[in-house]
Symmetry: C2
Subunit: 352 residues, 2 copies
């Protein structure tokens, strides 16, 4: 039994008794029933995930998986591939958006080199789990071997388990990898059955001709590799990315440990499709955070029956939307736990 | 010159130079230009409001204006009117949703008795500015005299000025007042020209027949009082509420002091219509936070050219949506201020 199959086998359904207790308490709190809207639903979901009727989420961590993509040399991004290691150094120095927003919400940033195409200096905050110096160019050959794809999932599982062992009680997913909307669109097209054009956007800012080139490249890659839509590992290996597998592993591990996982933007969405194809029971542990500008994102939500918490027109990745979502989920749990009931506060309930 | 006219006269346009500096800095930060979406726009707006190119918002406060409504005895709410003072006591004890969410984002809760129909015990955290024991029943007579309406605005101005003098650098609006969606719908219908049915919802949870009764009551009140849509003070007096005037005063004062003001749900939206009718220059100082379930809310956004930050299906009031928005605006300002530039971080910019 591999770490992956073992982890998947551990995922159980949400705790119905905890959800019922949370729902019953919500209806006794000093507000019209349902008046906190999505916050009430979130608190009940987290009760089900954690098994606690009044859950608290005290130690958030965002996992930023960094990796390169052979296809990035094919003009699918306006940024050069050397930006991936440069941004990893920026993460370690604390100067990127994910650092600022994580400080704002009190989340630890766990930066993982799962496949950056450069040797990175050792750093106390860098989790070095490089599987390869980037993937192969999926426009010409499979991005990864099947063994590498499996390893990327297991690196994600191991990293998530270590964070949870160290006390993290809510995880968020993030990534850095120049070119990574290309494998993401390839995955989303394959697993949803939608056309490449329907699920491919401008990434970090392609112009019209760049977008046209990207769509044609992905269509050709899918025609070349014929990834099997009923075999998510095959899809991940042939047209995916190391950080995408890593994120999917984080989601699977979080579900196996009863920890909610905040899903960031389009790349994390592609990873969620892989995770839920491999482990359908992981779905209720996912909380979609924001609707990205990237056009394929809605296809992910539809496929996985998820509804994002907000739409702020973001398209940065790194986990930036996911960490903003952490604050909302914490707020939802605090409202459930800390608000007074009608009885405690001596407030008259709704007239019968 | 009254406090109101004096305050309105002090409102100046946003600081264009600060906005240009903020925009220029956003474009140098280590992310694709525009990738933080609405967060970038928010940071630029706050730069314009405060006059600082890299603003920080360190001391938030939410003003919860509490008042009663004579019309509440006419079956327009499923909750009895005594809930208003009961909830004020709950605010002071720290057990309401607004307390929990304000603690979460680090905001002070300033509870103002501007017109509760009960004598409230003195409390260190209660700002006692009662103008009347609730409004008159607008289904039979004007809710307020014109002098009371003006006083409600000036109480809001005074409270906001005191909070700002004490260091508050971002304000949020909130309210408590059983029955207050009824005057809010009356105001919104009058100032937007839409029909009462189009801007009237279920409030704290009316059923179908309750909603029908509420619409008919508001229609009859507007026919009886004929509030003048070009005279916002007349509208506020005849079909408004003391807390609605108070909130409008907070907005006008915040604008006059270069302080951003987070606008909560439907009642705060009605107050924003009053504020901007009296002081059109206040509009750019407002930040709409959430889209309420209450159906007239969109009419407010359309009229004031505002776009809420999120839609979480909330309909509680108190300022609960507004304080959640505070965290997003703070995050936006921190990203602008704390992120490294491409040059500082040694990250390659987009290829030309």
């Amino acid at each position: 039994m591999t770490l992956l199959t073992e982890t998947i086998a551990k995922i159980s359904p949400l705790d119905v008794a905890a959800m019922e207790a949370a729902r019953a308490r919500q209806d006794m709190l000093t507000k019209p029933q349902g008046a906190l809207g999505r916050l009430e639903a979130l608190s009940i979901q987290v009760a089900g995930i954690t098994g606690a009727a009044r859950p608290r989420l005290l130690k958030p961590a965002v996992v930023v998986m960094a990796a390169d993509h052979g296809v990035a040399r094919q003009g699918v991004s306006p940024f050069p591939p050397e930006v991936t290691p440069q941004m990893v150094m920026n993460f370690l120095a604390g100067g990127a958006a994910i650092n600022v927003l994580s400080r704002h919400v009190g989340a630890q940033v766990a930066v993982v080199d799962i496949g950056v195409a450069a040797d990175l200096p050792a750093h106390a905050d860098l989790i070095a789990r490089k599987i390869a110096y980037g993937t192969a160019d999926l426009s010409a050959e499979p991005a990864m071997t099947r063994a590498q794809a499996q390893e990327s999932l297991e690196v994600g599982i191991a990293v998530a388990n270590e964070l949870i062992d160290a006390g993290a009680d809510i995880l968020a997913t993030g990534e850095m990898g120049i070119g990574n909307t290309t494998p993401s669109s390839a995955i989303v097209a394959t697993l949803t059955g939608l056309s490449v054009a329907e699920v491919t956007g401008r990434g970090a800012g392609l112009n019209d001709s760049g977008l046209k080139h990207k769509v044609a490249l992905i269509e050709a890659a899918l025609a070349l590799h014929k990834p099997n839509p009923t075999d998510a590992m095959d899809v991940l290996a042939k047209v995916g990315g190391l950080e995408i597998g890593g994120i999917a592993g984080v989601m699977i591990a979080a579900a196996s440990r009863h920890v909610p996982v905040m899903v960031d933007g389009f790349i994390s969405g592609a990873a969620a499709l892989i995770a839920c194809a491999l482990a359908p029971a992981a779905q209720p542990y996912l909380i979609a955070t924001h609707r990205s500008v990237e056009r394929g994102h809605q296809a992910v939500f539809t496929r996985l029956d998820l509804e994002p918490l907000f739409d702020l027109g973001m398209r940065l990745g790194e986990g930036t939307g996911a960490v903003l979502g952490i604050s909302l989920v914490q707020a939802a749990c605090k409202a459930l736990d800390e608000m007074s009931t009608f009885g405690e506060a001596g407030v008259s309930d709704k007239e019968a």
